[in-house]
């Protein structure tokens, strides 16, 4: 199957005088519509890996291909466009814009992409918000929602532009177990319905086991790469 994202020989070294190698020789590819999880201890380099996959961070050496495009050769503006159209982020700390309502937050990637907000896209946003169970709080300010609601808003926002891949960094890191369960069910559901590729970082093995593929990172290297059959 076609690869949405591919990393070839990626190394990441922080610092100039005292060098810390965070990632070593990462070679990994994610197929279209796959649902993968990345596990590993704190400080193992999994967040750095996700940021490099999302073009937010750059590798010290090695290549990142997004839909076959070498991101190192793309300009800043091209990268921004690529992030806008092809990638959806869900961060551990939801990162909503507090100045905007939940619905406006969900519409933001679409507006950044240059789209005019019309009834069609608003209906679509509302549909996604209903999908994540937020129809009642759509017009609440982002700060006036519970943690779980904010996280679900971030998910709706990530899927609005129908990106090829969604990168989620501990999307349930600060939620209780019931909410965690709901959100995974939700992500899985979106994966099935829209065919979106998911890469999810988690430290919860129980959750990780629900993915089609489990990648374990230890000391900046791929320690395990198990696919369910």
């Amino acid at each position: 199957m076609e690869n949405v994202l591919e990393l070839k020989g990626v190394n990441k070294i922080y610092g100039t005088s005292v060098k810390t190698q965070v990632l070593t020789d990462i070679n990994i590819a994610f197929e279209k519509s796959s649902f993968s999880s990345i596990i590993g201890q704190s400080g193992s380099g999994k967040s750095t890996l996700l940021n490099i996959m999302g073009t937010l961070d750059t590798p010290t050496n090695g290549q990142v291909f997004l839909n076959g495009v070498d991101t190192a050769k793309a300009s800043k503006n091209t990268l921004a466009e690529l992030r806008n159209k092809s990638i959806g982020f869900v961060f551990q700390f939801h990162y909503l814009l507090p100045e905007f309502t939940a619905l406006e937050n969900v519409l933001m990637p679409y507006r950044i992409g240059g789209g005019k907000v019309n009834k069609e896209i608003t209906d679509k946003a509302k549909e996604y918000m209903a999908l994540v169970g937020l129809e009642k709080v759509m017009n609440n300010n982002a700060t006036k929602m519970s943690g779980g609601q904010q996280q679900r808003t971030a998910i709706a926002r990530a899927i609005l532009n129908n990106p090829d891949i969604i990168l989620a960094d501990e999307p349930t890191g600060n939620l209780d177990s019931d909410s965690t369960e709901n959100i995974y069910t939700l992500l899985r559901d979106i994966n099935m319905r829209l065919g979106t590729t998911f890469v999810i970082i988690t430290h919860d093995r129980h959750i990780a086991e629900k993915a089609d593929r489990i990648i374990e990172i230890a000391d900046g290297r791929i320690n395990l790469d198990i696919r369910k059959t």
Binding site: G54, D57, A80, E81, I112
Partner: protein, 387 residues
């Protein structure tokens, strides 16, 4: 563009208290600018008006003074046609005489005017405090300072001794107050024909006096030059600027100091806005990081802060103009002379106010360049990584 604008307005609205304080800050700066500017301009206008508003601004005399100007009727028409900025032209016969009254004597400058023309320059009819305008030969007006000194009243007769030692009788028909003590003690005003006859001069004038329109007062020297070149060598042309160098240097000193004050007020406004906007970038760095992660371009993220600067500038300028006009209005309403006139009549120049407002907007835009650059160079990974 539209997105950046809508994010900018949302950022400003979400922190409305802070936004209003910034706008007020800019507004106060601009209002001081407008107030000081109007005050200085008003002061200068009234100084110039008091100094030269009621006197000849350009004067034509014969190159050989004693000859006088005999062709004055044609010359007057010629001068009027030279420059449309010359609004009043008045041929005048002047000569010095000695006044004798009740055993006392003093020198007088006898001025013979065509009142219909001279009034436009000297506003004599407005300056009469007692009596009427001279009409017949031998009727004169004297200054109010002589009333007390000699105990004059309307109808008194004085002797005027001309340079040729001829003694002529003149009747006082009224008194004037031109608000300048020197003129009030030394001038003796009469009709032109009366003065010509008094000194046995025939139909000549000693000078042609003129005023230019209010906006061309400072161009008098250029107009005088032009007049001089057109009327030829037989005449000498002088202008008020050549005779009031001290006033002019005073005025230019005042202009420079007022400009300095305005520049520094502006500078402090710019620095204030720049630092406040720089802080807003820090406050909003998280939001900028999120927006960049979602794919907003660097240019768009800069635009957010340029728009913030523009919006703050526009609202600040409007507030400043209103505050400044309010300040000016209350100053003219409360800072009064004993007679109820304002101490200084402010000069409200719409162009100056528009310029001040425009500078404010421009300054805010300029100040927002710093945060705009900061916003552009902000790397989203720093926000995501450090949470």
């Amino acid at each position: 563009m539209k997105l950046s604008f809508s994010i900018a307005t949302r950022f400003l609205r979400s922190n409305i208290g802070q936004t209003l304080i910034i706008i007020l800050g800019i507004g106060i700066g601009i209002s001081v600018q407008i107030f000081i500017g109007s005050l200085i301009q008003g002061l200068q206008k009234s100084l110039v008006e008091k100094t030269i508003g009621s006197s000849s601004q350009i004067t034509v005399t014969a190159e050989i003074k004693d000859d006088g100007i005999s062709d004055y009727i044609n010359l007057e028409e010629m001068i009027k046609a030279i420059d449309s900025r010359i609004v009043s032209v008045s041929p005048t016969y002047d000569n010095a005489g000695l006044m004798e009254y009740d055993g006392k004597s003093q020198s007088l400058l006898v001025r013979g005017f065509d009142f219909s023309k001279a009034d436009e320059i000297y506003k004599i009819s407005d300056a009469i405090i007692d009596g009427t305008m001279p009409q017949k030969t031998g009727e004169v007006l004297l200054g109010k300072n002589l009333i007390d000194e000699y105990g004059f009243k309307v109808g008194d007769v004085i002797n005027v001794i001309t340079p040729d030692q001829a003694v002529k009788e003149c009747t006082i028909v009224g008194f004037f107050d031109l608000k300048v003590a020197q003129l009030n003690t030394s001038w003796c005003i009469t009709t032109r024909s009366s003065a010509q006859e008094l000194f046995g001069a025939g139909d000549i004038v000693t000078s042609i006096e003129m005023q230019v329109d209010d906006n061309s007062v400072f161009a008098s020297d250029k107009i005088a030059e032009n007049v001089s070149s057109k009327i030829g060598d037989a005449y000498k042309v002088t202008d008020w600027k050549a005779q009031n160098e001290q006033l002019l240097s005073g005025l230019s000193g005042q202009s420079i100091s007022s400009l300095m004050i305005q520049v520094f007020v502006m500078l402090s406004v710019i620095l204030g806005i720049a630092s406040v906007l720089a802080i807003t970038v820090m406050q909003k760095s998280r939001q900028i990081g999120i927006l960049k992660a979602m794919g907003i371009k660097n240019g768009q993220s800069s635009l957010i802060f340029l728009f913030e600067g523009l919006i703050l500038g526009i609202f600040g300028a409007v507030t400043g103009v209103l505050l400044g006009l309010g300040l000016a209005a209350s100053f003219t309403a409360f800072a009064l002379n004993p007679d109820g006139t304002p101490v200084i009549a402010l000069y409200i120049d719409p162009n100056f106010i528009a310029l001040s407002g425009g500078i404010a907007v421009l300054a805010c835009l300029l100040a927002s360049l710093i945060p705009a650059r900061k916003s552009s160079s902000l790397n989203p990974i720093d926000i995501i990584r450090n949470n």
